[in-house]
Symmetry: C2
Subunit: 626 residues, 2 copies
C-alpha cells in the first residue's frame, strides 16, 4: 500500500490506491479546503506532488485537485498555505475509527455443519424378496446413513417420490432439515447445497448467496427496503400497516424485494434459484413481523407484545420465495424492539461464549444495546429516534450519494471542510457527518455544552435563520440543491437527546445488572453506522463511553453475518436460540433512575464531565491553546 507523506505537517499515512488524497488527508486529521464535498468542481483542494507517481486531475495554475488524486507509489504531498493546517488535529491519533472486529477476530468460529443438508443414498432397488414401499425404503436408507429414527415427509413430496426414485435407479439425494425431508433429487447432487443469508433492515436489505457445502459466499447484493415508501421508520410503518390492507402491502413489498435480490445473486452465478434449500433471515422484530405478515400493532401498544419472538421454519414456497422444498429460518427475537438482528449479531461476535464483559451497540432508530458475556446477557432498546440516520435533522439525509459524511472545521477560520459520499455535490448530511459536525462545533467552541451556538461569535456562517440559530455548512452555490445546507440548534437538540438516550441506556442497563461503565472490556459497534463512525468524535459528543480506544471494535453488518453463520452451522442456529433465551430484556423507562440518567446525558459530552476524562482533557487543552 502506498505511503503518503503530507507536508508541511510531516504526517505519514498508508493510502490504498482507491482512496483519494483528500480523503486520506481527512483521515490523517489534516485540513484541505473542499467546499464542493470532493466533487472535483470547486478546485479549492489544490495540493502539490513533491515526490512519487500519482493519477488525478491537474489544475491549470499548477498542482492537482486532491479530491481526484490517487497515489500510484509512495508519494510526498504538500498542502499549500491557502488551506491552512489544523495543527491541533495532529494531536489526534491517526486511526479515527474503531478497530475492525473482523480483522481482529473474524466472525465467531462455529463448526461447519449446515442447517440443511444433502445426503446421497444408493437404495437397494425393490425385488420380490424386498418389496418394501418407496417411503419406508428411503427411510431405512436414511436411518442407515444418518441414524434418523423417523422422517417427516409432506404430501407434495410423497407424490413425487416414486418417479424420482426410479429416475436414476434408486440413486437419490435427500435434502433434509433435521428429520424433515425437504427435497428429493435423482442421482448424486449432494455437492450442490445452496442457501441465502438475508438481513432485512428497516432501511436496507442485504443478501448473500451461500455455497453451504464449501461454506462460502458466492455472491451478494443489497437494496433499499421498498417499505420505505410507506414510512421511513418502523413506527410509521406499523401505523401504515393498521390501515386497510397495509400489512399485506408491506409484506408483499419485502417478499418481492427478497425474491428479486435472490434472483439477482443467482443470476450472477448462473444458478437456478429453485436450487436454494434454505433462507436464513435476520431482522428486527418489526421487520420479522412484516415479512411474515404478522399483526404488528401490539408491538407498539403497551405492554409491547410481539406475536412471537421465535419463528417456525416456514416453507419458502408459502412465503413466495424460490427454492424447491426450501425453508425459511428467522433469527429469534427477544422483545418488540430487540429483534433477530441483535440476536444474530451477538451470535456473530461470539460474545455470549466468552469471558470478557462486552457492550454490543447497534445505533439506529432504536439503539439496541446488549451487555454481557458467557454468563449472562442483558439487553434494552433506547428510544434514540432517527437523528443518527438523518431523521429530524433539517438537512439530514440517509448515507447515500451526495450526503456529507465527514466534516472538519478549521479552528481559525471556522470554515468547514466536507466530504460527501461518492464525491458528489452535497445534498445534505448523513449520520456520520452529523456526528462529525457536532463534535467539531463543540470542540471549536462554536456551541456550548448545552448545544447552543455561542452568540458572541461573529461569523458569516453563524446566523439566526427562520428556525433559530444555525451554522451554514454549505453555501447555496456549492450545494446540489441550490440552497444553503444548515445545521440548526433544533437539530443539535435532537442529536443531544438521541445520544443522551443511548448513553443513559448503557448506564441504566449496566446498573440493572450491577455493573459500571468502566467494567466494560469491549465495546462492539454493529451496523454500517458503526463502521463509518469517527470514534473520537462519537466519544466527544458523549454517544459512546470514554473508554480506552483499543476496547472498541466495529463489526459491520453482524446481523447478516449471524444469518450466514446459522445457515452454515447447526450449532450457530442453536446458539441463536440460546442467546435469545438467555437475554434478559429491560424496559429502560421502567427503571427508577433512567430519567435522571437521561437528563444528565443532555449535555456535551455529559453533565458529569468526569465520566469523559479524555474529553475533559481535550477541552482543557483547547482552552489553553486558544
Amino acid at each position: 500500500m502506498p505511503r503518503v507523506v503530507f507536508l508541511p505537517a510531516n504526517v505519514t499515512v498508508e493510502v490504498p490506491e482507491e482512496e483519494t488524497i483528500l480523503r486520506a488527508a481527512m483521515r490523517a486529521g489534516l485540513h484541505i479546503n473542499a467546499s464542493c464535498g470532493g466533487a472535483g468542481v470547486c478546485g479549492k483542494c489544490r495540493v502539490f506532488v513533491e515526490e512519487g507517481s500519482v493519477e488525478g486531475e491537474a489544475l491549470p495554475e499548477g498542482g492537482y485537485k486532491a479530491c481526484t488524486l490517487h497515489p500510484k507509489s509512495d508519494v510526498v504531498i504538500r498542502i499549500p498555505v491557502e488551506s491552512e493546517v489544523d495543527r491541533r488535529a495532529l494531536l489526534r491519533p491517526l486511526r479515527r475509527a474503531a478497530a475492525s472486529w473482523l480483522e481482529a477476530r473474524g466472525p465467531h468460529a462455529f463448526p461447519h455443519d449446515p442447517l440443511v443438508e444433502k445426503v446421497f443414498l444408493e437404495l437397494e432397488p425393490p425385488s420380490l424378496e424386498n418389496n418394501l414401499a418407496d417411503l419406508p425404503r428411503l427411510e431405512m436408507a436414511l436411518q442407515a446413513a444418518k441414524g434418523l429414527e423417523k422422517l417427516n415427509v409432506d404430501w407434495k413430496l410423497l407424490k413425487s417420490l416414486p418417479h424420482i426414485l426410479r429416475e436414476k435407479g434408486f440413486r437419490v439425494t435427500a435434502g433434509l432439515l433435521e428429520d424433515r425431508l425437504l427435497r428429493i433429487e435423482a442421482g448424486d447432487t449432494s455437492e450442490r447445497l445452496l442457501g441465502m443469508a438475508i438481513d432485512v433492515g428497516t432501511t436496507t436489505v442485504c443478501v448473500e448467496l451461500l455455497d453451504l457445502r464449501q461454506n462460502r459466499v458466492l455472491a451478494e447484493t443489497s437494496d433499499y427496503n421498498p417499505q420505505i415508501s410507506y414510512g421511513e421508520d418502523v413506527i410509521s410503518r406499523i401505523e401504515f400497516a393498521r390501515r386497510g390492507d397495509g400489512l399485506q402491502i408491506l409484506h408483499e413489498k419485502i417478499v418481492d424485494c427478497l425474491r428479486r435480490l435472490t434472483r439477482e445473486v443467482c443470476d450472477k452465478q448462473g444458478i437456478d434459484p429453485e436450487e436454494i434449500l434454505l433462507y436464513s433471515v435476520a431482522g428486527n422484530t418489526v421487520m420479522s413481523h412484516f415479512l411474515l405478515e404478522l399483526e404488528p400493532r401490539f408491538l407498539r401498544e403497551t405492554p409491547y407484545v410481539p406475536v412471537t419472538t421465535k419463528f417456525p421454519f416456514i416453507p419458502a414456497e408459502e412465503l413466495g420465495l424460490p427454492g424447491k422444498g426450501a425453508v425459511v429460518h428467522l433469527a429469534p427475537c427477544v422483545a418488540s424492539y430487540v429483534g433477530g438482528d441483535i440476536t444474530s449479531g451477538v451470535v456473530a461476535t461470539g460474545l455470549a461464549r466468552e469471558e470478557p464483559l462486552t457492550l454490543f451497540i447497534d445505533i439506529g432508530t432504536n439503539g439496541e444495546i446488549v451487555v454481557g458475556n458467557k454468563d449472562f446477557l442483558a439487553c434494552a432498546a433506547c428510544s434514540a429516534g432517527p437523528a443518527f440516520e438523518g431523521g429530524g435533522i433539517k438537512h439530514g439525509m440517509r448515507a447515500t450519494t451526495g450526503a456529507i459524511e465527514a466534516v472538519h472545521i478549521d479552528p481559525h477560520t471556522l470554515e468547514p471542510m466536507i466530504i460527501t459520499i461518492g464525491n458528489k455535490k452535497p445534498k445534505g448530511i448523513c449520520g456520520s457527518g452529523i456526528i462529525s459536525l457536532l463534535a467539531n462545533l463543540f470542540i471549536e467552541g462554536i456551541i456550548d455544552q448545552s448545544g447552543k451556538y455561542r452568540r458572541d461569535i461573529e461569523h458569516p456562517r453563524l446566523r439566526e435563520g427562520r428556525d433559530g440559530w444555525e451554522y451554514v455548512l454549505v453555501w447555496a452555490k456549492d450545494s446540489a440543491t441550490g440552497e444553503d445546507i444548515v445545521f440548526t440548534e433544533a437539530d443539535i437538540d435532537n442529536l443531544i437527546r438521541a445520544k443522551g438516550a443511548m448513553f443513559s441506556g448503557y448506564q441504566t442497563l449496566l446498573e440493572s445488572v450491577g455493573l459500571e461503565i468502566g467494567a466494560l472490556e469491549r465495546v462492539i459497534l454493529a451496523g454500517n453506522f458503526g463502521s463509518f463512525l469517527d470514534l473520537e468524535q462519537a466519544i466527544i459528543i458523549g454517544l459512546l463511553p470514554d473508554l480506552p480506544r483499543e476496547r472498541f471494535y466495529f463489526i459491520g453488518n453482524s446481523s447478516l453475518m449471524g444469518a450466514r453463520l446459522a445457515a452454515g452451522s447447526k450449532e450457530a442456529q442453536k446458539e441463536m436460540e440460546r442467546v435469545a433465551g438467555m437475554m434478559t430484556h429491560f424496559e429502560l423507562s421502567a427503571h427508577p433512575r433512567y430519567m435522571d440518567y437521561y437528563v444528565s446525558a443532555l449535555f456535551l459530552p455529559h453533565t458529569e464531565i468526569d465520566l469523559f476524562p479524555s474529553v475533559k482533557k481535550l477541552l482543557e487543552e483547547h482552552a489553553a491553546s486558544s
Copy 2:
C-alpha cells in the same frame, strides 16, 4: 321381539317387526314359493295366520302374501301345502349366519383419548411485568396444562394468533395433534371436538360424523365410490390412472365424494363442517393411493411396491376437505394388496392383543386374510377375483335393490325360492345369492363335485344354453329384465376358482407360519359380505373352513370401525401402526405348495373331503335320504 311359529313344521323363530314372514321362513330353512323375489307381485307366497296379530297384504282367495307380512305380536303361521316344506331343512340350525362379533364382543375397547384434542386455556393477559410474546405465552400455558415441551405452529395459524387471543381476553381453546397446534379458538370451545371416520372402499364409501368428546357417532351415511365409473375393480382403475390425467380424475372424484358426504352428515346435525378437526380414513392400498394422488402403477407391476405404506398427517385443507386446521389420518397399509382397511379391521377386532389364534377374512375382489394373535400376525392377499361381488358371473350384480340375495331350491321339485334385496323383481344375483345358489345346487345334487350340471337330470330349468349348461333361476316373465336369469357352468367355474383361491390362501398362510386349519380358534368375517353370508352354505362350497360354527363371527365394516377407534383413541392409532408393522406379508404365489393347494381346492367342497367333515356327513345323509 315377536315369536313366530311356522306350521306344519312347528319351527319357532324370533322375528323383528321389520322382517317379513317370507324372510323369517327362509332364515328358518322353510320353503315358501316366491318367484318374484318377494316383490309382492306373484302372490305365490301365500300363508295363513292361525294366531296373533299381523300387518300385510291379504289375498282375495284368503291368506296373506308372506312377502308383505310382518308380525305385530307372537303369531302362528301355517304354510299351505302348495309350497311344500323342505323337511331336511329342519335339520339345519336355525342360525344360519355367523355370530355377530359386535353383539358378542363389541369393537375392541381402547381408552377414550382422542387423537386430536382441545385444551381450554386461560392465559395471563400481558402486562409490562410480563410482556412475553403471544406464541411463547400460549406455549407456556400449554406446557403447564399438558406438559408440552414444544409446540409446532404453522405460519397461517401464527398470523391469526394475536387476534384470537384478544377476542375473549386471552381465554382460548387450542386444538392439538400431539405437539402440533391445529387450531386456536376464542373462548372455551373444548366441548366441541368433531371428527370423521371414513372407510374408502373400492365400491362403497362409508362415513361417520363423530363427537370425539362424547365418543359417539352423531350421524352416518354412505355412497358408492364415484371412481366406479372409471373401473369396477382396482386393477382397471390403476390402468385408467395411467392414462393422461387419469390419476388426478380419480383423486378428485374421491375427494369430491368425501366432501359431499361430510357436508351431508354435518347438515343432518346442523354442524358447520369447518368445525371438524380430524379425518380418520381407512382404505385399501390402492384407494389410499388414489385419495392422496400417489402414483399407483408400481402397485401392480412386479415387485408390487406402494409409494408408501404409512402416511403422514395431511392438512385437510390441502386435500380439499373442510375443517379449519383439520388433519387427515390414513390407516397404515402393509403391502400393495393388504391395505389400511385390513390394518384397521384387525385393530377393531383386538385380535392382535389377545391369545386366541384368529383368522380374519375380508372377502372381496381381493380376499385379504390375516392370521395371528398377540404374538404374531401373518397376512396375504388371495386373488379371488370379483366373483363374490357378482363380477364374471353372467347374471351377477352388486348387492343392490333387485339382487337375488338368497336362494332355496326345493329338493323335490328342484324349483327355486328366491329373495331379493328390497323385495323387488329380480334383476340378477349378488354375492350371497350366488353362494346360496351354488350350495343349493350342490346339496341337491344338481351339480357334481367338479361343479358340472348332472346331465342325467331332466328338468325344465336345466338346459344347454348359448354359454353351455345352465340352470334357469328366474323365468323371463318374473324377472325385472324380461330375460331369464340363469346360472351357467362357466359361472360355477369362476366361483370355484374364487373360493379355491381363498381356501388355498388360508392353507398356505397357515403353513407359512407352521399351523393347520384346525388350530384356528376364531374366524372373523369382515365386510358387508361377511354379514350376509350364510355360514353353512359358505362351508358347503368350501369357501370357509369346516370348523365348529361357534368359532365364526361376522363383524361388518371393521375398516370403518377401526378408523373410528383411531379417531377416538391415541392408543388405537398407535395400535394401527403396531399392527401394520407386526404383520408379515406373504406372497402366496411364491410359496412352493400354493399351486397344489389351489388345484386341490377346485372341487366342491374340496378334493380332500376329510377337510370338510360336516359337509361329508351332510352329503352322506342326503345320499341316504334320497
